[in-house]
Amino acid sequence: MQSPYSGTAVYRNARIVDPSRGVDEIGTLFVVDGKIAAAGARALNQGAPEGADVRDCTGLTIVPGLVDTRVFIGEPGGEHRETIASASAAAAAGGVTSLVMMPDTDPVIDDVALVEFVLRTARETAKTRIFPAAAITKGLKGSEMTEIGILLDAGAVMFTDGRQTIANAAVMRNAMRYARDFGAVIAHETQDANLSDGGVMNEGLFASWLGFSGIPREAELLPLERDLRLAALTGANYHAAKISTAMSADVIRAARDRGLAVSAGVSINHLSLNETDIGEYRTFFKLSPPLRHEDDRRAMVEALKDGTIDVIVSSHDPQDVDTKRLPFSESADGAVGVETMLSAGLRLVHNGDVSLSRLIEAMSTAPAKLIGIEAGTLAPGAAADFAIVDLDMPWVLDAEALHSRSKNTAFDGARFSGRVTETVVAGNRVYSA
């Protein structure tokens, strides 16, 4: 990452959307030496200072840079799929200025040396801020706890076993208890390995016609309910990383009503797509958790609206042709998404499901708060991490034009309204359309 830009920049006549301060108004963004000096209608009433770089942003919107808390990267061990540098280029093109890298690498990020490797590589090669998440259990094997205290000190921002679900309730309980003492976030994707065994897509009529065993919704729900009970028992800072079903949203809502301080995330895919997108065995729509029924997608949108879901993630998961050009049941799960997350999210804004401010809150302000980083805001003094967006620009996604090394997007050929035109990190322009 470059060092902060020194100098003064003024972005005039932009729609400034800053959910951290409840701001949504036409105004000016004023950046000095890589930090926000002021943002809003009343910023810079006296006019721009001498020598400032003044930009007219009429018709454009400025939002805090997005914070994506669930990104899978292939470095180390799978650099042919994605490197930290290529992931950050993709992030920049999507308006994402901070991302949390999952520990599912080879070797696994379960040791200080790996955390340091990620931070060093990011410093040297990345355009955006990269924060490593460390494994909860060594080797993601679900049995021995990692050195949570030391990993936190080294710079890990959350603890997660990535794609894996910790099956052993005692291990989970102890990890939650121990992490709580350090104030560490435990983020968990839940899928019962036995209930989902053999399943490749959502259980139901569509899977039955395609000839597949399904993954029942209960496979996600049962370990999630267990975790919520353990969170109550331990007082852990628990984050349900990627829920996909109406029932999951219901149990989180109920846990909150009981006073439990837990949070939840959803992937942009589960807000945008449903199982029928798989069509005739299209492997780019094979995800984990699987794409669900339209009723579940609607429930995810409702849960986003009512605040049950705090955070939207891309769940960016690069896979190359070796793992995707296979029969559906044999192909790998996952889709890239960091670059399209905002455009896909804007569909929900354009069709009236959520406000722009709510969307940006869930993609920027709330995830920054979840992992405790200073981002997700345009408040004076904050780092000048932001995206300039043309909310209505029509465009068609061409997978080959993606910055990611892997092209396994679930949105190839998708028509979008709204696109990032410029991304700025610490005052430096890191992407411009």
Partner: protein, 318 residues
């Protein structure tokens, strides 16, 4: 050339499943197959319509019976037939289905017959090659030629399919035969029942166009056709059914259960049979069984579909 009745052009490039076929599509295929039964019963069992055409049988799952049936069908039409049992060769060296398909495609076959353990494999192949593809069974998805041969067997025995009550019994969950038959029989106007323990039913089966029964007593009552499905022994290990003994007692077709169906009910099985598991020997070999006839109809139906897909009139229209 003998004077053949001119059948309507079959308006599909591939046969990937019964889904997508219309009532007239199926009727026409069965009419064609009827004439091919006659060919197969002649001393000179050979037509020359496909002389110079190449058929490749690409079997990723071993299946002696289906492969032999497709091979005979192609040969009786005059095509050159090559068998590739990939189960034992290049797949083990890491070659993917698509790589294999591209290699075979370069050999310029006119038709590829594929059997694969993964649902959707035939559709995937069809997108990558330049010739017609017939699905000879893909995972638990479809096995369209089996459903067509079952239909031909029923039609020849009963005159027509519409209005009949057909009970499909056993492991519906893992059966591509059941899925193809449910679609075909509904298209042809039959009443379809599925009978078996709930653990062997797919999710949402009640929305798939069949009445669902968990007891043979209710499911077989007054049925015109009883179709038994094979039970793989591994289902016990998966805790789907407890034992062969219990399965046979409750779901195996024996004389007492068959007596509940109509007296002239047909007994069918796609083979290979597990005698004493899903069907009693005396029934399999009994007077109501048309299991051997199904095998004979298999060759005729496969001749009909290969010929329909490679119909020379379609190429002229291209």
């Amino acid at each position: 050339m003998s004077a053949e009745p001119a059948f309507p052009i079959f308006p599909h490039r591939h046969l990937l499943g019964i889904a997508g076929l219309s009532y007239p599509d199926i009727e026409t295929l069965l009419d064609r197959a009827d004439t091919d039964v006659d060919v197969s019963r002649q001393r000179e069992k050979k037509k020359s319509v496909l002389r110079g055409r190449t058929q490749i049988n690409l079997f990723f799952e071993a299946s002696t019976r289906t492969q032999a049936s497709f091979e005979l069908a192609g040969k009786r039409l005059g095509a050159d037939v090559m068998n590739m049992s990939v189960a034992s060769s290049s797949v083990k060296k890491g070659e993917t289905l698509i790589d294999t398909a591209m290699t075979l495609n370069a050999m310029r076959p006119d038709i590829l017959i594929i059997r694969h353990a993964a649902a959707g494999a035939a559709a995937l192949l069809a997108r990558k090659v330049g010739c017609s593809v017939i699905n000879a069974g893909d995972g638990a998805h479809e096995h369209p030629t089996q459903a067509l041969l079952d239909a031909l067997t029923i039609r020849r025995a009963k005159g027509s399919i519409g209005g009949l009550t057909v009970a499909i019994c056993g492991d519906i969950l893992h059966s591509r035969v059941a899925r193809s038959n449910i679609i075909l029989l509904n298209t042809m106007g039959a009443r379809v029942r599925v009978v078996g323990p709930s653990t062997l039913m797919p999710a949402a089966i009640e929305q798939m166009g069949a009445e669902v029964f968990t007891s043979m007593k209710d499911g077989l009552k007054d049925a015109d056709v009883v179709m038994m499905l094979r039970l793989q022994r591994e289902r016990m290990a998966q805790a789907l059914v407890p034992s062969v003994r219990e399965y046979f007692r409750h779901y195996g077709l024996d004389a007492a259960k068959l007596a509940l169906a109509k007296p002239d009910a047909l007994v069918m099985h796609p083979g290979p049979m597990n005698r004493g598991v899903e069907i009693a020997s005396e029934i399999a070999d009994g007077p109501q069984s048309v299991i051997e006839e199904q095998v004979e109809m298999g060759v005729a139906v496969r001749m009909a579909i290969i010929e329909a897909l490679l119909d020379a009139r379609k190429n002229e229209a291209d």
